[in-house]
């Protein structure tokens, strides 16, 4: 079942189209990565989903409620952070969450629950301005979780976090998805973390959706390369050059990388053994999301 649906959504800033005819849907229970270079229209799309911007054309449905016509019902089942986790810096984390709980009609006991969920019990009475970025992100997530949303939307949540912070954050998301059973939509321009975090990835560039697929699918299909760890390398290389010189992708100190299909691997293997070359291992080359992304978008400003 789709928890979020966008149909032919368009948005112009003045005469400049920022989102062009965007349609996709997110299935319930998934962690959906919304990937694209800076300026691709990710934040604009998220703002439209959360009702901060009005779509010029098309419609957006959250949990079956049209964001424009049934705003209150739609917002009751979606929580999120847009851009930075901006909160009232002069208030404590607790007061910030209290505000949100009241606005969403939740009891104050729910505040304690979400504080525990994000592990901020110790510092919750401190002023928001004293928090580190990681803590701010946690409070941001807690704020979004207050209303018991079915869909959690996080806009570039790992921006500015250090590697340890990113890992913590990833664990938190996994925990929430698993234990609270909610659907998560995460936007990012950093590919690596998408690969490690998400089930499904939608790639957006220039306001258009280029592709939507499972992470496995994106990484598996493009590869078609195998590494042969062989000795002696020179003899093996000479043999291969005589027969399939055009298939060599890379040569390293201890392996030769060949563009061959899975079915061809035993044939190559046999030929090498026949020539008296020792094979220490054959390994398929896993294609990173980056390569897939670059292949799809044709480059762009992505952080690898």
């Amino acid at each position: 079942m789709s928890i979020l649906t966008l149909e032919h959504v368009q948005k112009f800033f003045g005469s400049r189209p920022v989102v062009k005819d965007l349609s996709f849907s997110v299935e319930e229970g998934r962690i959906f990565g919304f990937l694209g270079p800076n300026g691709a229209g990710k934040t604009t799309t998220i703002k439209m989903i959360l009702g901060l911007l009005a779509a010029d054309h098309g419609q957006i449905t959250v949990c079956g409620h049209n964001v424009e016509t049934e705003f209150e019902a739609a917002m009751a089942c979606v929580g999120g952070i847009v851009e930075n986790p901006d909160m009232y810096v002069y208030l404590s984390g607790y007061d910030n969450l209290k505000l949100q709980a009241r606005a969403c009609g939740m009891p104050l006991s729910r505040v304690d629950e979400v504080v525990e969920m994000v592990g901020m019990q110790l510092r919750i009475k401190d002023k928001f301005k004293t928090y580190s970025l990681g803590m701010k992100q946690r409070i941001g997530v807690a704020q979004a979780m207050l209303r018991r949303p079915r869909l959690l939307i996080l806009d570039e949540p790992t921006n500015g976090l250090d590697p340890a912070g990113i890992k913590d954050f990833r664990d938190l998301l996994r925990y929430l998805a698993k234990n609270e059973g909610i659907t998560v939509m995460v936007s990012s321009h950093i590919l690596q973390e998408m690969q490690e975090m998400c089930d499904t990835v939608g790639i957006i560039s220039n306001g258009q959706l280029l592709r939507i697929a499972g992470v496995d699918e994106l990484t598996k299909n493009v590869s078609g390369r195998f590494r042969f760890f062989v000795r002696p390398l020179d003899t093996a290389l000479e043999l291969i050059r005589q027969h399939i010189a055009d298939r060599i992708a890379d040569v390293a100190a201890d392996y030769i990388e060949l563009r061959v299909s899975e079915e061809e691997v035993p044939t190559v293997n046999n030929k090498l053994i026949e020539a008296g070359i020792a094979i220490y291992g054959v390994q398929p080359v896993a294609v990173s999301l980056e390569e897939s992304f670059i292949a799809i978008t044709g480059g762009g400003n992505v952080i690898v």
């Binding site: 703002k47 959360l50 901060l52 911007l53 901006d86 009232y88 009241r102 606005a103 969403c104 209303r147």
Partner: protein, 508 residues
């Protein structure tokens, strides 16, 4: 909706800048009160006694009279007569040891002026027997002066009143009849020195002026009646009524008649006006200089814009409430805050003024006009009612602040524009007031918000004959009800614009 209001309260009350703004404006206001009351109770270097003052006048006048340069001048005659008269009046005050405001000073002025005029008259140019007639008249008044009986003087004035025609003479006789009937010794407004004789008979009297209030009230009634009779605005200073040449409007006529009814009720029921250093006098001063509307405006200016500046607006708007509700919660919080601040300030100033004045005159009464009826009520009730009405401009400023806040979405711009409106509007109005005296008034100006922000002009009884309304109110057809209605319309427009902008515009 109530939850959203509670949220706005929490945000407002836990913000340091809220209390800093409020504290600074309240502190500044109290400082202004201190300065004002220090000025009103301070003797302005009038440490000289009245006697010394008169002696000074005598010596400087005699020096001027001995200067031969002056006497050669053709147009100088009138001035010269005045100087000689004044010289003799001051000499008379000293010789008879008269107190300031003694009714005989006026009489002496009349008598001496006549005799000086007779002495200096050129027998060639005046008609036959004219000098003798003047001298006889002067002798009559000098005789009255020697008698020293104000009742006899009043009786004489009733029989033979001054005035240019029959109607004016009637006004003067009626005034002197009032002195007699109410047994009020007249005061002279000539050569008052310490401001203890209050001519304007405003609601707030100078310290010490209260002891002469009845005579001042009778004087004011006379002036107003003359003004009504001539259909011209009068302006009086140091015992002389000057005619401004400005015709009375219908509104002026109504106000003057109303003022006179109030004065007569005061006299009949013996209700003195409030002195400026009494409890209510200080309270009035405090509320006049209050800067709280500025604080309310500044706070309203950031109540929406601040969320945009801090980026918290995204958090604010993704809650399951329509934007309109968020808007009204914010507006309500700003209004509520302004009203609460005004009320708290009222209590604080009551305590401070009470302690400073030792609650002197706290049981005073006030005479005012409500819906055309002259009514008497405790001053406290009058003051509280007035205080509540005076909150209207503050609320209008709050609505303007909310509008700037919603339109500009930047704390700095909204604050700056609010300040420009508050102070710039006042300057624009002053310029228009000045232009009016040269080119006549422009009809649309009375509908400007700036022309209606100072409601105190409707309470300060500007329409005694001595203070023309045009000095205070842009257009004399304006009333309290008019200004209130104009402000209400502005508030509605401001909020509509703010609401529309907040609800419809994208949050980029």
């Amino acid at each position: 909706m109530y939850n959203l209001l509670k949220n706005e309260r929490l945000k407002l009350y836990k913000k340091t800048s809220t209390w800093v703004t409020l504290g600074v404006t309240m502190g500044l206001t109290l400082l202004l009160v201190l300065i004002t009351s220090a000025f009103t109770t301070m003797d302005f270097g009038f440490s000289m006694s009245y006697e010394d003052y008169c002696r000074d006048q005598v010596s400087s006048l005699s020096a001027m009279l001995q200067d031969p340069e002056y006497s050669e001048d053709e147009d100088f005659r009138e001035y010269y007569i005045g100087m000689v008269t004044n010289y003799r009046v001051f000499q008379y005050i000293l010789d008879n040891n008269l107190a300031e405001g003694d009714w005989r000073i006026d009489l002496a002025d009349t008598a001496f002026r006549l005799s000086v005029e007779a002495e200096l008259a050129d027998p060639e140019s005046v008609g036959p027997g004219e000098i003798e007639r003047m001298l006889a008249e002067a002798a009559r008044w000098t005789h009255m002066l020697a008698k020293g009986d104000w009742r006899a003087y009043a009786g004489e004035m009733i029989e033979d009143p001054p005035g240019e025609n029959l109607e004016e003479k009637e006004v003067y006789s009626r005034i002197f009849r009032m002195y007699l009937e109410m047994d009020i010794e007249p005061v002279s407004t000539k050569w008052d020195y310490s401001y203890e004789i209050d001519l304007n008979f405003d609601n707030l009297l100078n310290p010490g002026a209260g002891k002469n209030w009845k005579a001042s009230a009778v004087n004011a009634i006379g002036e107003n009646e003359l003004s009504l009779l001539r259909g011209e605005q009068a302006f009086s200073m140091s015992g002389t009524v000057y005619w401004t040449g400005t015709p009375l409007s219908d509104a002026d006529r109504t106000a003057l008649a109303q003022k006179n009814r109030e004065l007569e009720v005061r006299l009949r029921q013996d209700i003195p006006p409030v002195e400026i250093n009494s409890f209510y006098g200080l309270l009035e001063t405090t509320s006049q200089v209050s800067l709280l509307s500025l604080a309310a405006l500044l706070i309203a200016a950031v109540i929406i814009a601040g969320e945009f500046t801090a980026g918290t607006v995204k958090l604010l708007l993704i809650v399951p409430h329509r934007r309109a509700r968020v808007f009204w919660a914010k507006t309500l919080a700003a209004v509520e805050f302004a009203v609460a601040a005004e009320l708290v300030f009222l209590v604080i100033s009551m305590v401070i003024c009470g302690v400073t004045s030792l609650f002197a005159g706290a049981g005073a009464m006030q005479v005012t006009t409500l819906f055309g009826n002259t009514v008497t009520m405790p001053y406290m009730l009058y003051f509280l009612g007035k205080y509540l009405i005076m909150m209207l401009p503050t609320l209008a400023m709050v609505c303007a602040g909310v509008m700037f806040s919603a339109l500009l979405r930047s704390s700095v711009s909204a604050t700056v524009l609010s300040l420009v409106m508050m102070f710039g509007g006042d300057i624009v109005l002053r310029i228009l007031m000045v232009l009016k005296s040269f080119f006549g008034y422009i009809p649309g100006v009375k509908f400007l918000i700036f022309a209606n922000l100072d409601l105190s002009v409707y309470f300060s009884s500007p329409l005694t004959a001595s203070l023309p309304s045009e000095l205070l109110i842009y257009d004399s057809s304006m009333t309290l009800g008019f200004s209130a209605a104009v402000l209400a319309v502005y508030m509605a427009i401001f909020l509509l614009i703010a609401h529309d902008s907040f609800v419809r515009r994208d949050v980029k």
